[in-house]
């Protein structure tokens, strides 16, 4: 009896000691100039010149500056590390006058030699750049005119060049740093000229940046001349179901890609603010295969678009934050939607079109057929980004108008490409993000890498090429793309669903959150923490 009492006393003593020590720790001064930012994907590599993940730009957009910046509100380019630039009348030569007195975080001066070294690094085939090199298009030569003037020569006009140069993938890195560390290790020792300095990156765990006190060359799209917050730690939250929990337990201050139902709940919570951020680029979309019956018939394609209740699908899967998309591309400077060619939800019309195209229910089994061939549709969906959920709803709608639908979910990009190569599909989902509509050339020109509709039209190819080469007149360029989009809508080549809206939730103690034109990247320099 006595021994039991002794044990009990001992246990009580130990526990109270533990709790006391914890209480002592937790009452320490709170670090208010540190912010924790949640990332939603742990990329395989975070070297912007060499890797392609869009997640890497969230921290690194503020580590690097670019020659030009894209104003998210106007869609116009503003000076960055280049004070000004001129484009030759033939669109083949861009001359940049560089800003003086800019130094990298390691003390290396920024000048024309640095620009040349950066572009050389990106184009070096041994470095296997996955994105940046392709963004440079028909780059032929980089010429140093003097220490602060550099010319970029192209082999053919390429209008998206400025857009490319405004993105983090073509951010200017310190040649001293990347030459010291080499292509494999530089990602752990990145050095730029931006408002934040790269401190540390531990893969799958965290990435830390701290304030650059020497920053004195903020572009006009930044609201503050220098950063406010001392340190920003980025952590990875890949499991979407635990993202809201991480916010609510106070582990992180800002987090993107919060699932819609959690976002709705947090948006009415007094401790959080919801920022629905539109991401420019292609919508979630399904391309029709124009090489395979029955989707080789434009009437059938139109019927299939009319048959889908897209606003129901968008509301069900993405909540109230997204609207139905009608065009194949959207960005602030490129509103391409043509209102008079929109194919709205109209199942009666869809059925009438199918009847007119000769697809009738010949034997009364509920499945339409033509010449004894049943109306069978095979739809291939990627596994990511709620594509499968949307595809289920599309299937239900197509079955309602008398089709037999086979649904195949491709568990990754490889299998999706495999299914596409085999060609046994009527509709297939794929979409990319980007601020320049030249992206569409891969999808809609006859020999494009992503011409998954199989549609070929020399006039369309010519139109896309002309638009890509209209470097000097943005308005003419916009007109060409509007023309192109109405052609695509006329041919009913794709079923667009919605443009991506990134649901970012931030703690109320964070102020000044806004995003770059690419949509994904927060402007970290303008963030403040309120007490």
């Amino acid at each position: 009896m006595k021994s039991r009492l002794q044990y009990l006393t001992l246990i009580t003593l130990v526990f109270s000691l533990i709790f006391l020590s914890i209480a002592a720790c937790s009452t320490g001064p709170e670090e208010t100039s540190t912010l924790v930012y949640g990332l939603t994907l742990a990329p395989s590599g975070i070297d912007p010149h060499l890797n392609a993940s869009s997640e890497l730009g969230i921290p690194l957009r503020s580590v690097y500056d670019t020659l030009v910046f894209l104003n998210p509100d106007t869609g116009k380019f503003v000076p960055g590390l280049a004070d000004n630039w001129t484009i030759s009348p033939d669109g083949l030569t861009y001359i940049f006058t560089l800003r003086r007195n800019v130094i990298f975080h390691d003390g290396t001066p920024f000048n024309a030699q640095a620009v040349l070294a950066n572009l050389d690094r990106i184009c070096d085939p041994n470095n296997h750049s996955q994105k940046a090199v392709f963004m440079l298009g028909p780059l032929e030569e980089v010429e140093i005119i003097d220490d602060y003037t550099v010319a970029i020569h192209l082999s053919e006009p390429y209008a998206p060049l400025l857009d490319s140069l405004s993105d983090v993938y073509l951010g200017m890195a310190s040649p001293t740093a990347f030459e010291t560390w080499g292509p494999a290790e530089y990602q752990f020792h990145q050095v730029g000229t931006g408002p934040y300095r790269f401190v540390e990156y531990i893969p799958i765990d965290h990435l830390t940046v701290d304030r650059n006190p020497d920053y004195a060359w903020a572009p006009s799209i930044y609201h503050q001349p220098q950063a406010d917050i001392e340190n920003i730690i980025f952590r990875f939250y890949e499991d979407s179901s635990t993202r809201a929990l991480a916010l609510e337990s106070g582990e992180i201050d800002i987090l993107g890609e919060v699932p819609p139902h959690d976002a709705a709940r947090l948006s009415v919570d007094a401790d959080f603010t919801l920022y629905p951020i539109s991401i420019p680029g292609q919508p979630m979309q399904f391309f029709f295969n124009t090489q395979l019956s029955p989707t080789d018939d434009v009437i059938v394609r139109r019927a299939l678009i009319h048959a889908v209740d897209r606003s129901y699908a968008v509301n069900t899967v993405f909540g109230v934050y997204s609207v139905v998309a009608h065009s194949p591309f959207s960005a602030s400077a490129f509103n391409l939607e043509s209102q008079d060619l929109i194919l709205d939800y109209d199942p009666t019309k869809a059925e009438a079109l199918l009847e007119a195209a000769g697809w009738t229910d010949e034997d009364g089994d509920g499945i339409r057929s033509k010449n004894n061939i049943p109306l069978e549709l095979r739809i291939v969906s990627p596994t990511w980004g709620s594509n499968p959920e949307v595809t289920q709803l599309i299937r239900a709608d197509w079955e309602t108008i008398g089709a037999r639908v086979i649904l195949e979910i491709a568990p990754g990009f490889g299998p999706l490409k495999e299914a596409q190569t085999q060609g046994e599909y009527h509709a297939i989902g794929i979409n990319f993000f980007g601020t320049d509509p030249d992206l569409l050339r891969s999808f809609f020109s006859s020999n494009g890498l992503y011409n998954w509709t199989g549609f070929t039209d020399p006039e369309q190819d010519q139109l896309l090429l002309q638009a890509a080469q209209t470097s000097l007149d943005p308005e003419e360029r916009l007109r060409l793309y509007q023309q192109f989009v109405s052609d695509v809508q006329e041919e009913a080549l794709l079923l667009p669903i919605r443009f991506y809206v990134n649901l970012v939730v931030a703690s109320k103690r964070v102020e000044g959150l806004h995003f770059s034109a690419q949509g994904w990247y927060p402007i970290l320099i303008d963030l403040r923490i309120t007490h």
């Binding site: 533990i18 709790f19 914890i22 209480a23 720790c25 937790s26 742990a42 395989s44 590599g45 070297d47 060499l50 890797n51 392609a52 085939p125 041994n126 296997h128 996955q130 994105k131 090199v133 392709f134 963004m135 292509p183 494999a184 290790e185 990602q187 531990i202 893969p203 799958i204 765990d205 952590r235 990875f236 939250y237 890949e238 499991d239 179901s241 635990t242 929990l245 991480a246 609510e248 337990s249 582990e251 568990p411 990754g412 990009f413 490889g414 299998p415 490409k417 495999e418 990319f432 980007g434 992206l439 891969s442 999808f443 020999n447 890498l449 992503y450």
Partner: protein, 299 residues
């Protein structure tokens, strides 16, 4: 030797499975809509992915035998370094998880046997059953919810039970505790029925001492072997646990490298897992031999 064979089989299977199921890694690598078909081809050539699959496999095996796991397709970093970075986090999680599994397993097993016919014993048996049945993905999220709820009242608890180690290790340990508890319970119940226990009882030794001293010892060898095997399963469990708790480690490295098509890394992690699995079997045998004097006598 057997271990190496197992590792070889596992790695070869991964090599072919990833390529057959997932197709072309270059397609994933350049899935950004900007490259031209010629550029894709040239990248494939420079990564040595244009060679026939068998040649690629032989090249890979040659490297593997020399201890060279190749380089990551995405970052050109050696796979061995990428894995070494993530290894400590997973080892810490798995070891803590294993210790907790043994602790929970013993507590539940002994309680279930000791109070066999009372509510406490039945409850312990039920909990053990539940531990085996519930997937880590489920208990993980539930534990996070409970954790957040408790946090409202005891904000300071975040220091001891943070998501970093103790909470995920508890979830992981709990999932393996069920099987251990069952074996301990079965062993105890069986030995309690043996004639020597009757003799011990006749000598007036109390039930508690009989159970914990005399009966537990013969019940331990199977539980020890099982624990060593559970260590291998814990390794698999870390894949889910690391994702749910946003912890770094090999599990997430494996999942990410498969999703992103970085095959050399996936192969490296699988090879390591296979070696680890084999090693834990060998350790299980050795432990059983050390603990159980009967095994030593027969050999």
């Amino acid at each position: 030797m057997e271990g190496l064979l197992t590792a070889w089989a596992a790695v070869s299977l991964t090599f072919f499975a990833l390529r057959v199921v997932d197709g072309d890694p270059v397609a994933s690598l350049l899935s950004q809509g900007l490259a031209s078909p010629e550029q894709v081809e040239s990248l494939r050539r420079s990564l040595g992915l244009d060679a026939p699959l068998l040649i690629q496999y032989l090249r890979f095996l040659r490297g593997f035998l020399r201890g060279d796991l190749g380089i990551s397709l995405y970052t050109s970093r050696p796979v061995s370094i990428v894995i070494a970075e993530q290894l400590p986090a997973t080892i810490a999680l798995a070891l803590t998880g294993l210790s907790l599994a043994i602790f929970f397993g013993l507590c539940l097993g002994v309680t279930a046997a000791w109070k066999e016919h009372s509510a406490a014993g039945r409850l312990a048996a039920r909990v053990a059953g539940l531990a085996t049945a519930l997937p880590v993905a489920f208990t993980g999220v539930i534990s996070l919810l409970v954790y957040r709820y408790i946090l409202q009242f005891f904000p300071s608890i975040s220091i001891i039970a943070s998501r970093h180690l103790l909470l995920p290790a508890t979830v992981l340990g709990f999932s393996s505790a069920g099987a251990i508890a069952r074996v301990v319970q079965a062993g105890l119940v069986e030995s309690m029925r043996s004639p020597y226990m009757l003799a011990a009882r006749a000598r007036g030794i109390g039930r508690g001492v009989r159970l914990l001293w005399h009966a537990l010892r013969p019940a331990l060898p199977p539980a020890t072997s099982l624990s060593a095997l559970e260590a291998a399963y814990l390794f698999a469990g870390t894949v889910v646990t690391e994702t749910v708790f946003s912890r770094p480690g090999l599990g997430r490295l494996l999942v990410n490298s498969i999703l992103q098509g970085d095959y050399p890394i996936a192969q490296g992690v699988v090879a390591l897992a296979a070696l680890f699995y084999t090693a834990s079997h060998i350790i299980a045998d050795i432990l059983a031999f050390l603990i159980d004097p009967r095994l030593r006598r027969t050999s």
